[in-house]
């Protein structure tokens, strides 16, 4: 490992995130318009975790979010102006507005109505009116309703009932009932149960084992047995471990080294693995993982809501998770 990848290059990554919006003459910028709202949430959360929140203009960001409001859909946000409302971009919009202390811009009643309208008889949520279902959308709904202070309008038993159907003998959870356990779905289901104060639904020792076994010899984490490691699992796996208070069950030094080795030391950003193309998604989830591992100089990230812990604490929503203690720099 070169000297330059033995530390987190915070100013370079902040600059990288800042520069993402300045690439409008790039085709790739436009080909990913359907992820713009999520990308802004990833970028802003990464900046908050690096204590560089002001690197992006607050007013412009709020205006962008509000320009994605889909009035026809009855109360959700699309990923981009003129894109259809979807539960994923709606959650990202709410998270951004809360981080920017601008939730007063939203017609909360209509958003809540939109979200609740997507719950299916089985308890799972659809992403939009077209009916694609899975536990990611269920988490989006529960997270958003909690942030909006409207969890009491949710049919909790029905919702937990679906999560239970997705639980497997290995302790993990899949995308839909019957699906194989997958670290990303373990995160969404564990975080959902944490928000609903129903962690008793989890076989914690079994799930802790399955999660700890995601670490491979390189130090990185994979998402399923016998698969390759990837920086984004640093968050999917670690967040669930933090919620179960089992982060010490893996080798944190090796994981930190793996995440740092995936940095683009020339232009900033973090990739899925060393030597690959960086992107804002892996930049955010890599930094989120480092925060949970107590990496020095970072702010605490709440693994349940995937937002700055300070914001969640201020709202009185903090659950009993535990990352590693923040190391001195």
């Amino acid at each position: 490992m070169s000297a330059s990848t033995s530390t987190l290059l915070i100013p370079l990554h902040a600059k990288y995130v800042q520069s993402l919006g300045e690439s409008k003459d790039d085709l790739m910028y436009h080909l990913t318009a359907h992820l713009r709202m999520n990308a802004i949430y990833w970028g802003l959360t990464a900046l908050c975790t690096m204590n560089h929140k002001d690197a992006l203009n607050r007013e412009e960001m709020i205006e962008f979010v509000m320009s994605c409001w889909d009035d026809e859909a009855g109360g959700g946000f699309g990923a981009h102006p003129d894109h259809d409302a979807h539960i994923h971009s709606t959650l990202s919009a709410i998270q951004i507005l809360i981080m920017q202390d601008a939730l007063d811009r939203v017609d909360v009643d209509r958003v809540v109505k939109f979200i609740l309208s997507l719950q299916q008889p089985s308890g799972v949520f659809a992403g939009d009116q077209w009916g694609e279902i899975d536990t990611r959308f269920l988490y989006c709904a529960v997270n958003a309703l909690s942030l909006l202070g409207r969890l009491h309008e949710l049919d909790v038993e029905k919702t937990v009932g679906y999560v239970r159907q997705c639980r497997n003998f290995d302790g993990g959870f899949g995308a839909v009932a019957g699906a194989e356990s997958h670290a990303a779905m373990v995160f969404v289901c564990t975080a959902t149960l944490a928000i609903l104060d129903r962690l008793d639904e989890i076989d914690q020792e079994m799930l802790g084992w399955w999660l700890a076994e995601r670490q491979v010899p390189s130090g990185g984490l994979n998402g399923r047995p016998e698969k390759l490691e990837d920086v984004c699992y640093s968050f999917w796996v670690l967040s669930a471990m933090a919620i179960l208070k089992k982060v010490p069950w893996i080798d944190s030094d090796k994981l930190i080294a793996f995440i740092l080795s995936a940095q683009d030391t020339d232009h900033g950003g973090i990739a899925d693995r060393p030597g690959n193309q960086a992107d804002v998604f892996h930049t955010h989830f890599g930094i989120a993982g480092l925060s949970l591992l107590g990496y020095p100089g970072l702010a605490d990230l709440d693994p349940v809501y995937c937002m700055p812990a300070r914001v969640i604490e201020r709202m009185g929503l903090r659950k009993g998770w535990e990352g590693l203690p923040r190391k001195a720099s």
């Binding site: 690439s23 003459d25 359907h34 992820l35 994923h88 019957g178 802790g208 990837d230 893996i250 080798d251």
Partner: protein, 374 residues
């Protein structure tokens, strides 16, 4: 494994093997420039270009960009529902199959603009075309959620027909093809969880169900091709539960066959965790004392051959603790004490062979000792 596809004539898009199949949709990356405003990409190597090469490539991309922006604006104007607009969505989705709003627009056009003016024969033919479009797109983008979703939507909208006496005929024809398509997808990537989820969806919803027995045979085939394929082991566990619950297989006999299968796999590669996870499922809560004792002995035998086998040690600890928890009344105080000591000794060995998870083994040793004291 990297397959290359062309978007238009000038922009090469590489789809690396994606491993992180999660909340987001875009997995494309343009490898032309050294720094690209990428949102979400997997498995694409970082390439460094000179400033001149970079500029040349950027100039070439501009024509493509212009075309894309015009197409995008036309599409989002959503001013009309006609053949021309429908073709716009086809062009857009071929360039960007993750653009969910374009799929939505297309479905709205089909439902409200096109289907009402067509005969059921024509509607069925249109949906067959839709399925062909998604097949072509899935070949290049096997992990894009919205393409799989459109496929489900097509199947759900196949009309009754071809006749009053055969209302399910078209549906049956379409659904039967699905298993073939999904098997091709799993031949290309046997761990693609989108394909496995889709497979379960098809098996559960097709008008004339396929037998669970034949699905068991399918999982055998996938496992024999690769023991590491936990997706196939997982599917096998689900299929067996349904065969046991419906009385199609005697659980006792069938479990014995499974233990035999898994034993072969363990001896083939004792470090492959798929097999051990499946074995843990077979043991379950460990209600059958004789079975769990026999399996402990068999794993001990393997450990004697391979004294550093982490998974042998890990499994022995798990099963011995299961015995301590569920069969304590069958044990004398001495046996309880020695089982506990064996667990603690194995956990200490695990700290040596698997130091990354040292803290877990320490915690388990502490709990095991604490339980004994109680």
């Amino acid at each position: 494994m990297t397959s290359a596809g062309m978007i238009g004539s000038e922009l090469e898009v590489i789809r690396g093997q994606t491993r992180c199949e999660v909340a987001s949709r875009s997995k494309r990356a343009n490898v032309m420039k050294s720094r690209i405003p990428t949102t979400y990409v997997h498995g694409v190597k970082r390439v460094r270009y000179s400033q001149e090469a970079l500029e040349a490539k950027r100039r070439k991309e501009q024509a493509k960009l212009k075309e894309y922006l015009i197409l995008n604006d036309d599409l989002l104007a959503k001013a009309y529902w006609g053949k021309e607009a429908f073709d716009l969505t086809t062009r857009m989705l071929n360039m960007n199959p993750e653009f969910y709003t374009a799929w939505n627009y297309r479905r709205n056009m089909l439902i409200h603009g096109i289907f009402p003016t067509r005969t059921p024969v024509e509607v069925n033919a249109l949906l067959t075309d839709e399925l062909s479009l998604t097949t072509a797109l899935l070949k290049q983008h096997p992990k894009v959620y919205v393409i799989w979703n459109h496929r489900r939507w097509c199947l759900a909208n196949v009309p009754d027909g071809p006749s009053h006496t055969d209302l399910d005929g078209w549906r049956q024809t379409n659904w039967n093809k699905e298993l073939y398509v999904v098997e091709k997808m799993l031949d290309a990537d046997a761990r693609n969880f989108h394909a496995w989820n889709y497979r379960r969806y098809i098996l559960a919803h097709m008008p004339a169900k396929r037998s669970a027995q034949s699905e068991l045979v399918y999982t055998t085939r996938k496992i024999e091709a690769n023991f590491s394929n936990f997706s196939a082991w997982h599917q096998r566990s689900k299929v067996l539960i349904s065969l046991w619950e419906t009385g199609q297989l005697d659980p006792r006999v069938s479990k014995e066959e499974e233990f035999e299968l898994v034993k072969n796999a363990m001896y083939t590669d004792p470090s492959d965790q798929s097999v051990w996870i499946y074995h843990r499922w077979l043991i379950g809560a460990g209600e059958e004392f004789e079975v769990i004792q026999r399996e402990i002995a068999s794993i001990q035998e393997l450990l004697d051959e391979q004294p550093d086998s982490k998974w042998c040690m890990e499994s022995l600890v798990f099963y011995k603790r299961l015995v301590l928890r569920h069969h304590v009344q069958r044990l004398t105080a001495t046996e309880r004490g020695s089982l506990t000591q064996e667990c603690i000794r194995l956990l200490s060995g695990l700290q040596e062979v698997d130091p990354s998870r040292r803290q877990r083994y320490k915690d388990l040793a502490w709990h095991t000792a604490a339980q004994q004291r109680m």
